[in-house]
Symmetry: C2
Subunit: 220 residues, 2 copies
């Protein structure tokens, strides 16, 4: 019988080499491939049968989350184990949603890493302690979850919100949307009420804090 077939995906060649050394030392594991980005990883998954993909989250040319989603789609039997430097709250959740079977931080001990690979290969999952806590927190917060943070606003109000977030005055908005100032004020009032914000200044803060303005949605 052959060991668990593992592919390493990480843009750091040095780390890949070290992972290979660590994992190969475990007789249950066989590192069959290692690649430096998500695109190549998908290509390998398409052509070969793999048991576990050990994947870094942040990579050039298709990040780990996107690659995981694609792998889950084309090879559901292949387990993906995310490996990252920090337990980035956002990414943890995104990775799990994308179909990752586990999530480890890179400060994992070599023995624990090998064990985690075996765990996910056998169908269970593996979460680093810190990450597990993050997941639980998330689950608890779900009711308070804001899908868009703009829930409840009408189309027009969302539009107004966007302009407010970019620092537009009422008169600028009414010029841009070809509306009377009174109308603009009505919409602005609705936005403030629905989002429970005091004034347009807080709209801007709200927008940035919720990632609703891309950097460089500059005022002008």
């Amino acid at each position: 019988m052959t060991g668990i077939r593992v592919m390493l995906v990480d843009d750091q060649e040095l780390l890949r080499a070290s992972l290979r050394t660590v994992l190969s030392a475990d007789e249950r594991i066989e590192v069959t491939h290692d690649v430096g980005n998500g695109i190549d990883a998908i290509e390998v998954v398409r052509r070969h049968r793999l048991d576990v993909v050990l994947m870094d989250i942040r990579m050039p040319r298709m990040d780990g989350v996107a690659a995981t989603a694609e792998i889950a789609r084309i090879a559901p039997a292949t387990r993906v184990l995310m490996l990252t430097t920090f337990d980035d709250d956002e990414l943890v959740v995104a990775a799990i949603r994308a179909g990752a079977s586990g999530y480890l931080t890179k400060d994992v001990r070599p023995a624990a890493l090998a064990q985690a690979v075996c765990d996910v290969a056998s169908g269970t999952s593996a979460l680093a302690p810190g990450v597990a806590a993050t997941i639980l927190d998330f689950v608890r917060q779900v009711p308070a979850r804001r899908t868009t943070a703009l829930e409840g606003l009408t189309r027009r109000e969302v539009e107004i919100f966007g302009l407010l977030a970019r620092g537009k005055s009422n008169s600028e908005i009414c010029a841009e949307l070809v509306l009377s100032e009174n109308t603009v004020k009505s919409h602005v009032r609705a936005v403030l009420q629905k989002l429970n914000l005091r004034d347009r200044v807080h709209v801007v803060i709200y927008a940035y804090e919720n990632g609703l303005v891309g950097r460089n949605d500059l005022p002008d």
Copy 2:
């Protein structure tokens, strides 16, 4: 004769192990210590003679830059080689200023890493190609450098700016700083003029676009 005495400083135990493996494979190098944070690193430097410290930038309990500065102070003969995941522009400069002899990204190839260690031990410096470019850019930009993007503001004005950025109204500011509203308005006016911003809404945008508010400098 003994090899170049090297200490590894990185909070990722896995990476330390791998670095040790890679470097030990080079006969010129002898890895004598490895620790997980800056505090411990300084302790080791104080007690032992080292040639090179291979240090991660981001670490819990005293980051790499601070540790480097301290090492440069107490053991000027010991060379520090920074090792990081990304060539964070800010950190590159800070690290070099702190006294680092070189700066590598973790995607360095094993052979190049060993060579870099030997290079800095012999007194030259080692910069990863991408980092070198960053340094050169920096040197070229120095005159145009924005230390804080708040250049020209007085202490008080910077303080006011911070409160504006967090969405405080004039009355809140005057309560918080125990000033008359007239005074606050004077300062606000000065801030707007000096930064060439139209109103407090734009102050918030300016603050976020320039990274002057940490996420979670939440309004309240």
